[in-house]
């Protein structure tokens, strides 16, 4: 186990290195940070000073080495917009994003298992059809639009929830719902098709024949066997939420998390802050991936980890 985790950490290191290479190439080779970050009115001297300050006047390989050095010490420079270290801003906003993801995906996970299993009990039945069509509609709805529709319904027309912002639990309801729905759709469809497949297996008949009750087979065997693909999907949902889907939800609801901060950083040409966010998320994704592999191993001893 220890060796396995070490190996995965090594792989994660490669991921972070890859991300830094892409960011470096994008920022220093294709883009021009001085042009993006300085106001149009900057004079040639100011420009040269800025370039010297962040090391743009040195050769590229040397820049890359010092870039990696800065990353290793979590020194992402100072946010131009907030006038304080970029990492401070990231740590301030990260909990809000985690809260949103937790509430949204938690809701999706809680609803997906019972709904999917219920639909699978009678494939082709009424519940099943409604679930499948609902799932496909959920998959096909753009998240930002869903959020705006919810705002129009609950905040503008019914006036029972705030349109956007951050505060008590009232402010969390709509963003969490928006976050949950597409994930819920994917999860329900997965649970449904997995449980249908499981219930058609021979062992189900054997178990029933030796006298187990249907619900015992359903909960003890069929649902249990869908757990591995379900956790894979749930993990993927967390990762893709962290990797940027919160950006959309947060910007619709003005939820002060990492995603909204990323958009604000872009609007204010604050590349250092944006870069800090990208790296924090990359490291977070690596950690989640390792956790997931360990969880698989704990759930299903048959999985051998190379």
């Amino acid at each position: 186990m220890g060796r396995f985790i070490l190996r995965r950490l090594g792989q994660g290191f490669l991921v972070v290195l890859g991300v830094s290479l892409v960011v470096f190439v994008a920022m220093r080779v294709f883009g021009d940070p001085a042009k993006v970050m300085l106001p149009l009115s900057a004079t040639a001297e100011q420009r040269a000073e800025f370039e010297h300050l962040i090391g743009l006047d040195r050769p590229l390989p040397e820049q890359f080495v010092s870039f990696i050095g800065d990353l290793a010490t979590l020194d992402f420079g100072e946010s131009l917009w907030q006038r304080r270290p970029a990492m401070d801003v990231v740590f301030e906003r990260l909990p809000n994003t985690l809260m949103l993801i937790g509430a949204g995906l938690g809701l999706a996970v809680l609803l997906a298992l019972p709904l999917g299993a219920l639909a699978a009990l009678r494939p082709g039945g009424f519940v099943d059809r409604v679930t499948v069509i609902g799932g496909l509609v959920g998959l096909s709805t753009p998240q930002f639009w869903l959020g705006l529709l919810l705002i129009m319904l609950f905040a503008v027309n019914l006036k029972i929830l705030p349109t956007s912002g951050f505060g008590g639990i009232k402010y969390l309801v709509l963003p969490a719902l928006t976050m949950a729905l597409p994930s819920l759709a994917r999860m329900v469809l997965l649970v449904r098709s997995q449980v249908i497949d499981e219930l058609n297996q021979q062992y189900v008949r054997t178990a029933r024949a030796k006298g187990l009750r249907f619900h015992q087979v359903l909960f003890g065997h069929a649902l249990r066997n869908t757990l591995i693909p379900f956790i894979t999907l749930a993990g993927w949902e967390v990762i893709s939420a962290l990797a940027g889907y919160t950006v959309v939800v947060e910007s619709v609801f003005a939820w002060p998390g990492l995603g909204l901060t990323a958009i604000q950083a872009i609007q204010r040409n604050d590349l250092f802050l944006l870069q800090a966010i990208v790296f924090t998320v990359a490291i977070g994704i690596v950690l989640i991936n390792i956790t997931l592999d360990v969880v698989y191993k704990l759930i299903d001893p048959r999985i051998r980890i190379a």
């Binding site: 940070p33 998959l139 753009p142 962290l242 990797a243």
Partner: protein
């Protein structure tokens, strides 16, 4: 001479039109898939002939005709069926032209990413060994990248435009094709008929194009279509965030984004473009769902088994009822 009958055509070697007709009949039976297919065809036609179909120029502004509601609402008029936006532009015309953007971006990204991914997958599956290990490690690493955030960063640095968006989306979406193709190539290579072809001395290009590539058509078709929906949604999201299509070009995502400042006074600005995205993606999903089940022999078998099982259950129930009544 005239007595020679034409040779009987074996049932297996059915001609192309026959197979197409058989496919059409199956699609006819699956109503959701059929509806999806028809809507897609409609959207494609509308976007091709957008300038002819659209009643107005999508960029034509009118200061007097601002924020007109759709025709069925009080204050609406027949000259703007779905109303106008905050600059007096006709919503319907904007939607029609927006379809072009979605389809164009979707098709180009799928084509670019697909071509690259398939090449990498074929190469990895064929070379095996170190090449395979290296390429697949590359795929693993890139899959773990923070996708959308990285896209935001790159677009922010390079500057948003439709071209940038297409290239960046292609660069971040090729991995899945490589994985799928490599998996299939690896398993097909083990089959006796490929070994036989190699044994009798077929050149490798022939083995690849004649014997292995046909196995890829069905999974790649389904994958490409599903990826297309993802790209349409991604384009809409990027344009909504202001990092995709830039005005004066039109895009559904862009229109939702401009409409969001008016949700208190004009619900139609946000609702219609979003509805267009939803309907497009939903239709493609319905069609892809049908296509996946129809082209995958395993799925067909499952469907058959399920139908049989349901029939048997019905029989049993009927028999049970009879026993009780007797």
């Amino acid at each position: 001479m005239a007595a020679i009958d034409p040779p009987a055509v074996p049932a297996i070697a059915r001609s192309e039109p026959d197979r197409l007709r058989a496919l059409g009949e199956e699609l006819w039976k699956d109503k959701p898939g059929l509806i999806g297919f028809l809507v897609i065809v409609g959207i494609v036609l509308i976007s091709i002939f957008a300038p002819l179909v659209a009643p107005y120029d999508p960029a034509a502004q009118s200061v007097i005709g601002r924020l007109k509601p759709p025709v069925w609402q009080p204050g609406g008029a027949w000259d703007h069926l779905l109303g106008t936006d905050q600059l007096g532009r006709d919503i319907l015309s904007r939607l029609i032209h927006g379809a072009r953007t979605s389809l164009l971006v979707g098709v180009s990204v799928v084509a670019l990413a697909g071509a690259f991914g398939v090449t990498v997958g074929l190469f990895a599956g064929f070379r095996g060994g170190r090449t395979d290990a290296f390429l697949m490690r590359l795929v693993d690493i890139q899959v773990a990248f923070p996708g959308l955030l990285l896209i935001l960063l790159i677009v922010a640095v390079i500057g948003p435009s439709m071209g940038t968006m297409i290239v960046v989306l292609a660069l971040t979406n090729w991995m899945i094709y490589a994985r799928v193709v490599r998996g299939i190539v690896l398993s097909v290579r083990q089959t006796p008929y490929v070994e036989a072809a190699e044994m009798i001395g077929c050149p490798q290009t022939r083995v690849i194009f004649r014997h292995i590539l046909p196995n890829l058509t069905s999974p790649l078709l389904t994958l490409g279509i599903l990826e297309f929906t993802n790209i349409v949604l991604a384009e809409a999201a990027l344009s909504f965030l202001g990092l995709g299509v830039q005005p004066p070009a039109t895009s559904w995502g862009l229109d939702v984004s401009t409409g969001k400042d008016y949700i208190f006074v004009a619900w139609w600005l946000v609702t219609f473009p979003g509805l267009c995205i939803s309907i497009t993606v939903l239709s493609i999903n319905l069609f892809a769902n049908w296509l996946r089940v129809t082209t995958d022999p395993q799925e067909r078998e499952k469907r058959f088994a399920r139908a049989k099982a349901a029939e048997r259950r019905r029989e049993e129930r009927r028999a049970g009822v009879r026993q009780v009544t007797e």
